[in-house]
């Protein structure tokens, strides 16, 4: 199944929260949703889950508009974590599973399966507020998974997790994606997103600024070239077309090179000034790309 966000807009009074947001999350794909605070990630996810209504645009799962029945097949982890504090873990998960359409016996099977998988099986009879924060997070994830969702929408699933829990969470998300479920999650931990996600979407002030694989995002941007030529004078590369000097310290020059420029030409120019000890192309990380996109 493919989750399609199609041209969604949302205003709060005179503030534009989302402006024609479009992207899709394909079957078996881990999609990283990245943006600064207030850029519109949570609003997009809330609209996907029908918790908020969009002013225009639509959300589809394959060709079907996402209505209440479809939403019940989505697993959702809201940014504002929330469970009934005084309700027992097992009863709570079973209740949520039944609200998603499972029968009572299906629900109790699913609760047993997921609490075991997430390492909270022995806490099933405890109230949620008696658990540690980390375990509450695991219950929250279980709440998103317990009805065997066809789509996963997770808002900041990694925030507040300890390293072990991050590994458990990553593993579960990869598993889900491998079983063909489209998974979208937002995060500020860009290294994690880069490592896990097949594709990434960057949202800036309510608009999608970039969508694609990390490699695709890189190919559009400028490459970084580091040249260590100690004898080269200031501005030695400035005459070359498509090349700008970004930084120079201790004889080491960082150049920004637009796509399609011949790097051998740059090397020749550098060698003319004397010895070259280092000549390396730096692939920008997602963090670099993100900064670039946000700054643009």
């Amino acid at each position: 199944m493919t989750l399609t966000i199609d041209n969604i807009s949302k205003r709060y009074g005179s503030t534009v929260a989302l402006d024609g947001v479009s992207f899709e999350v394909r079957p078996g794909e881990l999609f990283g949703f990245v943006g600064s605070n207030g850029a519109g990630k949570t609003t997009t996810m809330r609209i996907t889950l029908g918790v908020l209504a969009a002013d225009s645009g639509e959300v589809r799962l394959d060709d079907r508009l996402v209505d209440l029945d479809v939403r019940r097949t989505i697993g959702y982890m809201p940014e504002e974590r929330g469970l009934y504090p005084k309700m027992k873990v097992g009863e709570q998960l079973s209740y949520l599973a039944q609200l998603h359409g499972l029968s009572r016996s299906e629900a109790s099977d699913a609760v047993r399966r997921w609490t075991e998988r997430l390492g909270i099986a022995e806490r099933i009879g405890d109230t949620v507020d008696s658990l540690s924060l980390g375990n509450q997070q695991r219950v929250q994830l279980a709440a998103a998974l317990v009805h065997d969702p066809k789509v996963l929408v997770l808002d900041e699933p990694f925030s507040g997790l300890d390293p072990v829990a991050v590994d458990v969470m990553s593993e579960v998300l990869i598993d889900k994606a491998n079983s063909g479920v489209p998974v979208i999650f937002s995060s500020h931990q860009l290294d994690l997103v880069e490592r896990l996600c097949h594709r990434v979407g960057i949202i800036v002030k309510g608009r999608m600024r970039a969508v694609g694989t990390v490699d695709e995002l890189r190919s559009g941007g400028d490459a970084r070239l580091v040249v260590h030529a100690p004898n080269a004078p200031h501005g030695w590369a400035n005459g070359l077309p498509g090349v700008t000097t970004v930084d120079r310290t201790d004889g080491r020059t960082v150049l920004s090179v637009t796509a399609g420029v011949d790097d051998q030409k740059i090397l020749e120019t550098a060698l003319e000034t004397g010895p070259v000890h280092e000549f390396s192309l730096h692939q920008p990380s997602l963090t670099d790309l993100f900064r670039e996109v946000v700054a643009a």
Binding site: G50, V51, Y76, P78, G82, K86, H100, L102, A143, D148
Partner: protein, 397 residues
């Protein structure tokens, strides 16, 4: 994945959770257990203190003259039954009075006069009864001495009594009806207020714990709203039924209440009007709860509701004395005032079937309309975390 969730099952699931959460609370079980025990103890105590033979004047008579028999007859006739006993002499009488075993000792003198010994004073009714008995006894003795049979005299004067024919006879049930009315009003007041507040607090709990966002991704706001109201209302109904069954049962068993039919009728109508009154206020309390983000702010938006409920109950208490006053009749048609004035009128026996049906229909229609408005407010406010939403904002646009 099983079949799609129907609205009925969705509402049922929510209602079931609310019901179980409430009735499993330790505080709920303990407080209700105590209240039920208190009801039984109170009614039994009332029966012991109130009724029984204890308040009959205890009169001892010295000697075996006919005075005892005459006292008994006149006592029955005038509605002051006496506890009569025989005394050997005046000293024994004095002793028994001092010990509190009897109230009055009658000591006949030689000349037909009678001395009444007592602790300090004799109640005027009893005094008149004693006078009449002694006079009749003296008369009978005198007639017998003159050869007339007192029985003939009695037969001849038997018809010479005054019969009361009232144009507006007092209702013999009135006392009990008034008590039933007061109980119905007080209980309705407490139940509606308490369970309305439970609804508001339940809504705030979901909002402040943020679980509402998860719920609203699988439920329509109206389903969540009505599920909650049904679940909590069922607890209220259960509690009220338990209170009512125990009270009426205990009161009938101890003869504190003698009007079984009326009592059961009042009980049933109180249950029915609780459902209507609760539904009316519950939708409003749910809206009020959705407007705040913290438990401690609930009062700021539910204050106006509290005010209306108080006004209703002041109106109810004012009309207990005269339920047929024009203002009370008019007010009893207006929701939500009907929720408490109607059970009162039914208890007082002044409600016509037409009025009962009419006010019930009016109440249901009003509640349904309010339910739609309240759901709008709820939907609009429940995800607005932070600052309290005002009624003006919630109702605007």
């Amino acid at each position: 994945m099983s079949a799609p969730l129907t609205a009925t099952r969705a509402i049922g699931l929510v209602a079931r959770r609310e019901f179980l959460t409430q009735v499993r609370k330790k505080s709920f079980l303990i407080s209700n257990g105590l209240i039920l025990v208190a009801i039984v103890v109170g009614i039994v105590a009332m029966a012991f203190l109130g009724g029984g033979d204890d308040d009959r004047p205890r009169v001892g008579v010295v000697g075996t003259s006919g005075l005892s028999a005459t006292l008994g007859t006149i006592g029955e006739a005038t509605g002051i039954p006496l506890d009569l006993s025989e005394l050997p002499d005046a000293d024994a009488g004095r002793a028994q009075i001092t010990d509190g075993e009897i109230d009055v000792a009658l000591v006949p003198g030689d000349d037909g006069s009678v001395t009444a010994l007592t602790e300090s004073d004799i109640d005027s009714d009893l005094s008149a009864l004693l006078d009449a008995a002694v006079a009749q006894q003296a008369q009978a003795t005198a007639l017998t001495e003159r050869g007339v049979d007192p029985a003939d005299i009695a037969a001849a004067t038997a018809r010479a009594t005054v019969t009361v024919e009232a144009i507006d006879p007092p209702d013999p049930e009135q006392g009990q009806r008034i008590i039933l009315s007061i109980v119905a009003v007080v209980v309705l007041y407490m139940q509606i207020l308490m369970f309305g507040m439970y609804v508001a607090m339940g809504v705030v709990e979901e909002k402040s714990s943020r679980v509402v966002e998860l719920l609203l991704s699988t439920l329509r706001p109206l389903q969540l709203l009505w599920g909650k109201i049904l679940g909590i209302g069922a607890v209220g109904l259960l509690q009220l039924t338990a209170y009512g069954a125990v009270s009426v049962g205990a009161a009938l068993a101890t003869d504190t209440l003698t009007i079984t039919g009326t009592a059961l009728g009042v009980f049933a109508s109180t249950l029915g009007w609780f459902v209507l009154g609760f539904a009316f206020f519950a939708v409003l309390y749910a809206a009020a709860g959705s407007m705040v983000s913290r438990q401690e702010d609930v009062n700021s938006t539910s204050g106006p509701l509290m005010f209306v409920i108080l006004a209703m109950f002041f109106a109810a208490f004012s009309s207990i004395d005269d339920p047929e006053a024009t203002w009370s009749t008019v007010l009893s048609w207006i929701p939500p005032f009907s929720a408490v004035l109607m059970p009162l009128r039914i208890a007082a026996g002044v409600a016509t079937p037409l009025q009962i049906v009419g006010t019930v229909v009016l109440m249901i229609v009003t509640t349904a309309l309010l339910g739609v408005v309240a759901a709008k407010i709820y939907q609009r406010s429940v995800l607005r975390i932070g600052r309290t939403v005002t009624w003006k904002e919630a109702l605007g646009r």
